[in-house]
Symmetry: C2
């Protein structure tokens, strides 16, 4: 097995470019680094074009076994010297496992609600925020995410990292414009919910049930007037301090967690009614 030791190797140059997160083209694969994120991509059947590993760094037996299994399945697996791996790694202390995988997009017309919550992000700029929100969507068993407008790339290395690889577990769709989103909501019977730093109904006061499409706006400006106007309900988190808003990913977490809690509560009530004599 050959180990790549030159920084000038074309694969190393490709890894370095894709790891930087700059100007990823539509057909470029996504750079995934770390054991959990790459195992999640493999576990979810995402097409993997390359597994890059550094034998001198990769201590995890689980990860070593995954590389061996991937090679048996015909996935290209390349070994790199510790120094060359560090030259494209985004981490201070790389564990020696990375990969290039295909971006997965769910067509909007195949995104289902199943009575749950879909998160809609409008012009969210920071890929780290995006990935953190994806992690929360996964943790709250959200039905997926719809991106609208000039939003950060969910397959940017910073997003994949912040999502701890759950970007490969959450269906991600794009809407070309507001009209397409509204049509999708109608076709699914989903209530369109806006979130705003002010002027809405306090989260705990809302009672809306059934499928929801919860919209979050950009870090700096929130949702635009036309999306606020289109929503059937606007939710606000009360602010008690000097700051007038929360971090976007934190606000998303509070809202998605509370909605999931109610859904779970409603489900357990149904269970009890079924069991009642």
């Amino acid at each position: 097995m050959e180990t790549i030791t030159s920084r000038q190797n074309p694969t190393v140059k490709l890894l370095r470019r894709l790891a930087s997160g700059r100007s990823r083209g539509e057909s470029d694969p996504a750079y995934v680094e770390g054991i959990l994120p790459l195992l999640r991509a493999l576990h979810n059947g995402v097409p993997v074009r390359l597994i890059a590993y550094a034998p001198d760094l990769l201590r995890s037996e689980v990860a070593q076994a995954a590389v061996a299994r991937a090679r048996e399945q015909g996935i290209r697996c390349s070994a790199f010297s510790q120094e060359v791996f560090a030259s494209f790694s985004r981490r201070d202390n790389p564990v020696g496992l990375a990969g290039l995988v295909e971006s997965q997009w769910t067509p909007l017309d195949r995104l289902q609600t199943d009575g749950g919550t879909v998160t809609v992000l409008h012009e969210v700029k920071d890929p780290g925020n995006l990935g953190t929100i994806i992690r929360t969507i996964d943790a709250t068993a959200g039905q997926g995410m719809v991106l609208l407008g000039e939003t950060a790339d969910p397959y940017h290395p910073s997003s994949i990292r912040a999502s701890v690889g759950t970007v490969f577990a959450v269906p991600i769709a794009r809407a070309t414009d507001n009209g397409q989103l509204l049509a999708w909501c109608r076709s699914r019977g989903a209530t369109l919910v806006a979130t705003s730093a002010q002027g809405g109904v306090e989260l705990h006061q809302t009672q809306r049930r059934g499928p929801l499409a919860v919209m979050l706006g950009s870090e700096a400006r929130g949702l635009p007037p036309e999306l606020l106007a289109a929503a059937e309900l606007t939710v606000t988190l009360p602010m008690h301090g000097q700051a007038s808003s929360l971090n976007l990913a934190v606000a998303a977490g509070i809202i998605l967690y509370e909605l999931k809690h109610r859904q779970a509560g409603a489900a357990s009530q149904v269970d009890r009614s079924v069991e009642a004599p």
Copy 2:
């Protein structure tokens, strides 16, 4: 008024070092960048050693007025050329306002609970996470924060930025060891609450009232066994997806928001009982 145009100017070198966030000494001032964060420092009476501004960049009239007022109050205000300002700025598009301010620490024995919630962070490593949690503590009118162990610096530029300057509004104390924290809890009648990714009571099932000290552990390892054992109650957020945990700042947000909601609910119940005939 002189404008500094040399990158070799000693003040520029100092700003560059402090803006980098590397190896800030105990007596070094903190680097604050942006209009809101610097205005929050001034508003909260934090001693400001220097205001650095770029006349060519600073468009905000509110900010210009604040600089003029600070100068009248005897605060040193230095003007920089756009290019030199950009050489120490941490932002892609600097607004042209930064400052050096003194770190503010509240002695632990002066930190009060007022029946509310104090957040305890053990060995949290990422200053961005720390600042995001501080922003949430402010938004939920938390009583303050206690840092324990090798924790990131709340006055690191990344923390100040993530906090949007609320680091100057939230009392921040340090405990030298677990024993000092436990003694502080006893003296305040505060319930020590641990948080854990598993094995605790689900947040919505807990009923604890009165002053709380809510502990959050490091991003990678959570709380150590001795702090889990010392807690009177351990709270867990249920996970429904492939990931086994949430982002630390998101988890903190969910917990602090829910606790604040109950506190507000309890307060309004008291109000109603007073009003009842």
